[in-house]
């Protein structure tokens, strides 16, 4: 049932990458519980613009949980307290009247803040560029039954491929590790015949890039899996370890 609630928002404001940031508190009254979280921020920004103040910069794009652009660390959880959803799928009905909501950007040495709640997640793109693709000639589109792939592997690869690269795993990890992301991107290809050809090179190149960009070392806490909006399993991390170690021992 729709109702209106009043919220206190503690939001991280930072004018630029090199500037020191701080929290600022905003009061926002009469927010409909039917609003999405990002709509609430839009309302706040319109209010700020009317008051001739600088609106809050935050990342967003598709607003339907598939692009991986939205981020935000809300009350101690990346993408808010709901499991298996992105920030754009979070609604104000999950909050109560008078609640204080703390909104922070992803904090990780490899994700520097650009402005306010917006961070540079280019590090993930660089990891993909290092080897997260298939570059062998796979020919034209083959007949659907020409390459048999077991249902188990197909499902596992599809689960890994559901990673949207939002960065919640690295943002929530106490070690700032990007292993879940890299594991998903390695697994989605390593499980399929076309990806197997370059599997060894891919695992080595992507892990090397991940280390170079300053991500931490995984200690298998499983926080990434718990906060992942796509619920990607840490069993993919074991597969990445396996791929990487067998590639290195073969050398």
């Amino acid at each position: 049932m729709e109702k209106n609630i009043n919220l206190t928002l503690k939001i991280w404001r930072q004018a630029g990458p090199k500037v020191k940031g701080e929290f600022e508190t905003y009061k926002l009254d009469n927010v409909s519980t039917d609003n999405s979280f990002l709509e609430m921020l839009d309302i706040l920004n319109e209010k700020l613009v009317k008051e001739r103040k600088e609106p809050i910069a935050f990342d967003h794009d598709c607003r339907e949980g598939i692009c991986g652009m939205c981020s935000l660390f809300i009350n101690g959880h990346p993408h808010g307290l709901d499991g298996e959803t992105t920030t754009c799928q979070l609604h104000i009905r999950r909050f109560h009247n008078g609640q204080t909501i703390t909104i922070e950007p992803w904090r990780s040495a490899a994700f520097p803040v650009i402005k306010d709640l917006m961070v540079d997640r280019g590090a993930f793109d660089k990891i993909i560029q290092a080897g997260g693709y298939v570059s062998v000639n796979t020919g034209g589109v083959p007949d659907g039954n020409a390459i048999p792939i077991s249902k188990v592997f197909a499902d596992e690869a599809m689960d890994a491929a559901s990673c949207i690269g939002c960065g919640a795993c690295a943002a929530t990890c106490k070690n700032g590790s990007a292993m879940l992301f890299v594991a998903a991107k390695v697994s989605q290809l390593a499980l399929l015949p076309q990806g197997k050809v370059e599997a060894a090179h891919r695992a080595k190149a992507m892990v090397a890039k991940m280390d170079e960009l300053g991500f931490g070392n995984c200690t298998n806490t499983g926080a990434c899996e718990a906060e992942c909006p796509k619920a990607i399993s840490i069993s993919h991390i074991a597969r990445l370890n396996r791929e990487f170690l067998s590639a290195k021992f073969k050398d």
């Binding site: 101690g76 590790s177 718990a226 791929e243 170690l245 290195k248």
Partner: protein, 223 residues
């Protein structure tokens, strides 16, 4: 060298040394529990594992395992703190599925290491070290392990300290065992819960065997 300059390589060293240390703990606990069943039998083991060359080789390999495990832990933790960044989150919440031990491995490791120093002073220094060096460091014969055990645990404070120490060790290895196997790549969706269960069983067996000794003396079952 990829073992040193890649994150998975460094973790491989952590996991191999960790598995090695857990296997050592398993042997150590099996030998220790003999002291409850038969103090004479325990002394026979002590005499057998005295200052022989194979015991010395084993001890130095073990020490090397500890040193690598600890140095790499410190190095990895330092890197991880740097990766986390300067600015900390003001609000953080723990996830239900995340084990407390997994977030506190360094702290638990430091507790274990601190007590290890005490333990080495209480037993190793008076037993194997005394035998190697020929210096008489304790009040009993170096091979009379049972006498040292009984003497130390006649003090209830030591019994309690050892129980606290072993509890910290239990938390450390419940996460350590499955995490090491995970790092070695021996895991998938089906095996993940099984490996975790295996880790709990192994660490509980080891720690219960160790713990039964101070508990046995604490409640005066020996007299």
């Amino acid at each position: 060298m990829w073992l040193l300059d890649s994150s998975i390589g460094r973790k491989l060293i952590m996991s191999i040394t960790g598995v090695f240390l857990v296997i050592f703990l398993l042997f150590h606990s099996i030998m220790n529990i003999v002291v409850i069943i038969s103090p004479e039998g325990y002394n026979a083991i002590c005499a057998f594992l005295g200052a022989n060359w194979y015991a010395l080789v084993g001890t130095s390999m073990l020490a090397a395992g500890f040193v690598f495990h600890i140095l790499y832990a410190l190095y990895l933790t330092f890197q991880n703190m740097r990766a986390r960044g300067q600015q900390k989150y003001s609000v953080t919440k723990n996830q239900k599925s995340v084990d407390w031990a997994s977030q506190n491995m360094l702290v638990l490791g430091i507790i274990v290491l601190g007590f290890l120093g005490l333990h080495m002073f209480n037993f190793w220094y008076k037993m194997q070290f005394a035998e190697i060096s020929g210096i008489h460091t304790g009040q009993f014969d170096p091979a009379n392990g049972a006498a040292y055990v009984e003497d130390l645990f006649s003090n209830w404070a030591y019994c309690v300290l050892y129980i606290v120490w072993l509890s910290a060790l239990w938390f450390h290895i419940t996460h350590g065992v499955w995490s090491a196997l995970h790092t070695l790549g021996l895991n998938n969706r089906t095996w993940l819960p099984r490996v975790k269960m295996f880790a709990n069983i192994i660490s509980s067996i080891v720690i219960l065997m160790f713990m039964s000794i101070p508990v046995y003396y604490l409640f005066g079952c020996a007299t």
